[in-house]
Symmetry: C2
Subunit: 189 residues, 2 copies
DNA sequence: CCGCTCATGTAACAGGTTACATGATTTA
DNA sequence: TAAATCATGTAACCTGTTACATGAGCGG
C-alpha cells in the first residue's frame, strides 16, 4: 500500500486535481513513483473516504468542474508513520534488460534499435529533469538552495531521477557500441 | 507477460532447477528482473506446459530430487518474438523515494537512518556485482572479453546493475549530507 | 536438537494494467 | 474539422505478494 503515500507526498506541496496529479504521475515527471490515472482517481477516492485528504470543488465556466485535494492532519500523521516504518527494497523490472540478458541468442540489429530508442527517451527525460531542477532552484546556486531553500524534497527526488536517466543513457550507448564492435569482429575477425 | 521472458533469458546459459532459479532471482543477483520463488515455480510449470522449456528429472540420494529446465526451440522463438516487439518503458517505484519526496514534512533523523541503511545495501550489492563481473570475464581484460567473449548478455545486465547501485549509493550519501547540513543550519542559522 | 539448506508447491489477497465510457472546449 | 486538452471515472483482467504446507539431511 505505497501508492497511497506517493499520492500524499505529491499533494504536500500543491493542491491538485486528479487530472493534474495524473499528469505529474504519468507524463515523465514521475521521478519518485509511477501510476496510471485510473489508479489515482481510485486512490484519491479512498484517501478522501479515510479522511487523509480533503477535496474542494472548483466551479469553472469553460472547463468541466474539478476537485482540488489537500493533505489533512490525519494524512500527515499517516505519512509520518509510513516514513518511520521499514523501507521495502526496490527492484528492477525492465523488459529491455531481459532482452539484453538474452543478447547472445537474439538478433543484435533489433536489440541495437531498441537500445537506441531507449537512449533517446532517457536523454529526453534527463533534459526534462534538468529543466525542472533549474525551475525549482530559481535564481539561487544549487548548494545555497539545498542548504536554505524550502521544499527540497521534490528537488532531491528529481536529482535521483536525473542520475538514473543519465545512467540509463550511458549504459544504452555503451551496450550499442559493444554489440556493434562484436558484429564487426564477427564479419572480419 | 514478461516474467516468462525473464525466466527464458535466465535459462539460456545454464540448465537450472526452480530452486536455483529462485536463488538467482531473489538473492541479490536479480540484476535484470526480480521475482519470488512462488512466481517462478508457477511460471516454470506454465512454460513447460506450453513447450517453451523442457525439464528432466535428476534423482539424488541425500537431497530431494530436482527438475532441471532447458529452453526449447519454441522457447527461443518466443524470445525472438519478444525481442522484436516494442519494449515497454521501465518505471520507478521506490518507497524510499516517496519518503524523500516528503522530506520537508517528516522527521529528518528517521529519513537519514533509512537512507544510510539503503546506502549500505547498495554498497553491498555493488560489491557483489563487481565480483560477479570479475568471475565472468575471468583472466581477460574487460574490453577483450566484451569484444570476443561468449555470453556477454549477463555481463551487460550486470554492468547496468552495478551502475544503478552505485548511483543509488551516491544519491543516498549526498541526500544524507544535505539533510544534515540543513539540520545544522536550522539550529544556529 | 535447533536452525539452515535443498526442493516444490497451493491459496488467498493486494495491486497494477487494459479496455471502455462521456462530453465540452480550445488549438492546429 | 480533426485532434488534443480538460475532467472523471467503471469493469474485467492479469500480475505480484503474503501466508502457509511439507519433509529429509547437514552443520554447529
Amino acid at each position: 500500500m505505497a501508492l497511497r503515500h506517493a499520492v500524499l507526498a505529491a499533494l504536500l506541496d500543491e493542491e491538485l486535481s486528479g487530472y493534474q496529479l495524473a499528469k505529474a504521475f504519468s507524463v515523465g515527471v514521475a521521478n519518485f513513483w509511477h501510476a496510471l490515472p485510473q489508479q489515482l482517481y481510485a486512490e484519491l477516492a479512498r484517501l478522501e473516504r479515510d479522511g487523509l485528504i480533503a477535496g474542494r470543488e472548483v466551479v469553472q465556466d469553460t472547463r468541466p468542474n474539478k476537485r482540488l485535494f489537500t493533505v489533512t492532519d490525519a494524512g500527515l500523521a499517516e505519512l509520518d508513520a509510513f516514513a518511520a516504518a521499514a523501507t521495502k527494497p526496490s527492484f528492477l523490472r525492465d523488459d529491455l534488460a531481459v532482452k539484453v540478458q538474452a543478447a547472445d541468442h537474439i538478433d543484435s540489429a533489433v536489440l541495437i534499435g531498441q537500445l537506441a530508442e531507449r537512449a533517446e527517451i532517457a536523454r529526453a527525460k534527463a533534459d526534462l529533469f534538468e529543466n525542472l531542477l533549474r525551475t525549482m532552484r530559481g535564481a539561487a546556486e544549487e548548494d545555497d538552495f539545498l542548504r536554505h531553500g524550502t521544499r527540497i524534497g521534490p528537488y532531491l527526488t528529481c536529482l535521483r531521477g536525473l542520475a538514473f536517466e543519465r545512467g540509463n543513457h550511458d549504459w544504452c550507448l555503451r551496450t550499442i557500441g559493444i554489440l556493434k564492435a562484436r558484429e564487426a569482429a564477427r564479419v572480419r575477425p
